[in-house]
Symmetry: C3
Subunit: 179 residues, 3 copies
């Protein structure tokens, strides 16, 4: 089954993805989109370390800031559970490095997700429900993020939204147990 997990900042979406992955019987591959900063004291370095420390030792972590579709093609199998954390960082990486290709990258990823076998857990931040900042890049990011989420939600059997650590079922069986 393919699951898209959305949520705000620190809403419990990564913890939920990892809980769902751990609750299944399949081996787990984590596709991590965060770039490890060179300065290990950095805020982002602490976040990455925090996320890593939480994951079971048997899980394989693949760092892939940009080529997430290729990573899915390489690692997804009918008997593997792939967790992608998180697509907001991926989209931000895409916008910084390939700004003109962002829309095509989203289509590519959505097409790859559609044909991905096995268990797939995609984690992304909801960023579109606040006041829009007064700069064109942030508006473009919010637009693309909304587009990405719609494309992925249409191709996933289940969509969950975390608020205060509580997953709400936006699509799929509302009565199924969540890990």
């Amino acid at each position: 089954m393919k699951t898209l997990i959305l949520g705000g900042v620190r809403s419990g979406k990564s913890a939920l993805a990892e809980q769902l992955a751990a609750g299944g019987a399949l081996p787990v591959v984590v596709v991590a989109t965060a770039r490890m900063p060179t300065d290990a004291d950095d805020e982002m370095a602490r976040r990455i370390a925090h996320h890593r420390a939480r994951r079971p030792a048997a899980w394989v972590t693949v760092e892939e800031p940009l080529a997430v579709a290729a990573a899915l093609a390489q690692h997804a199998r009918p008997d593997v559970c792939v967790v992608v954390e998180c697509l907001t960082l991926w989209l931000s990486n895409v916008l910084l490095e390939r700004p003109l290709d962002a829309r095509r990258e989203i289509e590519n990823l959505a097409a790859q997700v559609a044909q991905t076998p096995g268990e797939l857990l995609l984690v992304s931040n909801e960023v579109g429900q606040g006041i829009m900042p007064d700069n064109a890049l942030a508006r473009r990011f919010a637009d693309l993020s909304g587009h990405l989420h719609r494309e992925l939600a249409a191709r996933c059997e289940r969509v969950l939204l975390c608020v205060a650590g509580l997953p709400q079922v936006l699509k799929g069986n509302r009565d199924a147990a969540l890990a």
Copy 2:
């Protein structure tokens, strides 16, 4: 029936409104609140063109950046479906042009909605669930937007929230089919 459709940026709220309008048997009037910019290459011009291209040719589009209540009074009929896209732009226009009257304009619109016959689909952005920007105008906008949504939600039989293209029923029959 009167329906308020809320959602974040690119969450599918306009597409849902147009789908619901197209799914009914009534002729459709779209009250469009966006001002067409003079520079046709502009970001907003592209958005407006994108929205227009999507709508059936038989629909009538009325451009009304400010006097939306008057447009409802003029165009709404028991045998017409009126779509208003979108009230966030309307509120922004009101704040720019009639800042001291914003609250009264909201009351006027809510009163007009209460007595509007026929099918009515009101589209607006949820903007209040992010970090508040550090400027008084943005805070006032978020305040007024929250006030507007509460006033309209109280006068509509159905309120939907779009997330990732998936409409959630906040008010009304949760089991009714959405177009």
Copy 3:
């Protein structure tokens, strides 16, 4: 019962908390975290006055911008209903005055909530679903706010999210009447 009430700006969360408190039979203590500004024309002063004017005269209001856990320990009883408005302001006060202790303050509050008797209604803003502002303090605030909400949601029997004045049940009995 302990209830956490979340929502965006002007989403009806305080009105709901007061409605739930008024609908019960218990005497009500409001723990108000807003500091009254010295300038009475100020935006915040108007908000505070607006909130106060809405509350029944029999309710006791305790102003406590920082020591909310202590206020709970002092005022909560099995036969009292305590309303805390709002924890977003409290967290903001903590970050300004005790920035290094913010995490510990959150743990303290959550521990106090866990052992609080009687009726408890906690009001807080959802702030994590917009574009993150480009400054470290705002990001830290959003992080801590998400952490706070998860800690509190885990210790409350009921969690509600207000959108456009409409409470959605995130945790607890979805069929129970809301005041």
